[in-house]
Symmetry: none
Subunit: 202 residues, 4 copies
Amino acid sequence: MPSAALAAKPTKYDARRDAVVDAAAAVFAEFGYHGAGTGLIAGRVGIRQGSLYYYFASKEEALSEVCLRGVGDFLTGLEDIAQSTMPANEKLHAAILNHLRPVAERPDYVRTFITQRQHLPDASRRSVGRQVRQYEKALTELVRQGIAQSAFRSDLDCELMALAIIGECNAVFTWYGKRAKALSIAQIADAMATRFLKGIAA
Amino acid sequence: MPSAALAAKPTKYDARRDAVVDAAAAVFAEFGYHGAGTGLIAGRVGIRQGSLYYYFASKEEALSEVCLRGVGDFLTGLEDIAQSTMPANEKLHAAILNHLRPVAERPDYVRTFITQRQHLPDASRRSVGRQVRQYEKALTELVRQGIAQSAFRSDLDCELMALAIIGECNAVFTWYGKRAKALSIAQIADAMATRFLKGIAA
Amino acid sequence: MPSAALAAKPTKYDARRDAVVDAAAAVFAEFGYHGAGTGLIAGRVGIRQGSLYYYFASKEEALSEVCLRGVGDFLTGLEDIAQSTMPANEKLHAAILNHLRPVAERPDYVRTFITQRQHLPDASRRSVGRQVRQYEKALTELVRQGIAQSAFRSDLDCELMALAIIGECNAVFTWYGKRAKALSIAQIADAMATRFLKGIAA
Amino acid sequence: MPSAALAAKPTKYDARRDAVVDAAAAVFAEFGYHGAGTGLIAGRVGIRQGSLYYYFASKEEALSEVCLRGVGDFLTGLEDIAQSTMPANEKLHAAILNHLRPVAERPDYVRTFITQRQHLPDASRRSVGRQVRQYEKALTELVRQGIAQSAFRSDLDCELMALAIIGECNAVFTWYGKRAKALSIAQIADAMATRFLKGIAA
DNA sequence: CATGAATGAGGGTTCATTCAT
DNA sequence: GATGAATGAACCCTCATTCAT
């Protein structure tokens, strides 16, 4: 019964490991990669500095893992939307929501990914960079489709639009939870989508 | 008379000192405050590590100075615009241009200010933070005025709008010079203003 | 009856334990005592780091055991030869063979003993050092006997001779198996003995 | 006046640097590379641990430098001898003296080179290894010449001879200064050469 | 002003060792 | 016996900073 073997796959100390990654994400997000001490991370999990290396080979590897989880399913989510049959307007709305939702679910991961990925070791940085560019390209394409379907103005600079959306969404990570009253992610996404759509309607 | 205030500022051995501040801004922007070594800064000016301390009392002070120049006249520029007699539409356009112009003139300073000000010593950080909040408030107010004058839709969340504008402008610092072909700052500002205005028109 | 002595030695769970000691000897020989990690030793036996401590109280104790087996029966072998009735020439040949034979049988143990015994804890080091000096003394005495029997030149410095033989034999451990074609230990011993004897013949 | 420029070549703080290298050599020789703490080295020069890195980029680099000085002019000395017009007998004597002389002049360097070069970083280790093999080859060749000139027995294994000489000489580093009364290097070299020559005379 | 030299605190990391399971 | 997990001391190294020259 292979399914049994799969089901038996021991998640083991993944619980503790996840706690460590969580702590790393939180500390990286708060102090930046180089400003974060491993002792601080360890302290948040209630273990000693050296014990971290039972879970990670290095601080860099911890950053890599955090960033990987941070970049998460941004891309797949967007591609699902792009391939769907929704009209362009709804696609854009969905794309914004797709980008904003992680803000509430794993803010430290995404914040770290956005602001600290430059400190990744070369290999990971390039790998992550490729994903980012692919994401930008997919969003650019989504805008282009909207134009082709005459849903959006034809004089738009598609790439500029994509960067604008990404930039505005990323900025939300900066202040969400601290400012702008107590807006929900859905509300913010609605407002943003509405304004963007009005701004670029054909 | 603002020129008097400027002239009163003691300029002394500014030439060399400015070179040092420039180097610090560049290195902070590239590697982050904690990722930047004083040796690297010194190297870019062609002096040795220890010699830096003829220009700065500490690395923190260097960051403070860079951030101060980074925040620069964002606020005064915006207040000038707010107090002018332009119609709301033009004010918004002017505000965006005011925010974007430094991207071409002193990108390292602004980039450092945006991404590294969290590492300032407590006093400077709070002082700078106050300026930021004041800037946000001024921009929020500018939007509110537009609504009062029936130039913008009345269902806008003013603060959200201000944060959106700021976020989108700041994002430009991330990619300007590397992506989006060879757009000029003015072109970007035009496109952004046009879209924003269409999106929020009454 | 030496076989009785051997049989009396408590053998217990020797099989696995010997495997562990072997691994320790190999790793110590290759990386040196301080360059060898317990994890590496454990890995070679297929167990985990912590499990080593069912076989040893400490890494130092492992080194002690390896060195003890390394020094092995050098001394008793040499004393047997010294007390035999062979002529001096043959005694020297036998002594050289006695010293070289372990090179093929347990090279890692001897190599470790020769190069790493300085890192033994004080007690063991002194104990082992005493054996070494006794060995040197026995060999020195063997040369002295040869002179007394007019088999060797009378102007020899006996201690120097002993050290020379030991040094040359120990050096074999350095290159045996890697260089000097595919000479057998017996061939090397023959060549060495022949030359030494010609060099010191009366 | 180029000679003036050369003479002016500032030896600078080479004096202090040499003291540091000396200390490193001594500590490496006594405790082995991995058994030697940088703090111990620093302590012997009277500076703090971190200050070492003003003179070295890393502990490995210190080992490299020590080994380089350790291997010193063994090779060039031997090549000079080989190319000279001395008879084979004298050449061998000179070669032995050439190998032994450093024992009195820089024992820590040579001891470290002999016993610790395995811990060099890959690049240096291979480079040094090449020198060693060249040295062995040169000595082997010197023996072969002696045979060709009918000065040595024709049934000698030349490589084995070379390794024997090297091994015996290197062994001197082990005990010189501690054992064998108060023999001078010259005396030891004489005794060794005499015996070797008798042992291999045609 | 600038430097060579040094510092000392702290950094990330390794590793022999322990212990409940 | 063996393991996963944790420890704490020590390690090598970096770096902002100081200071006599």
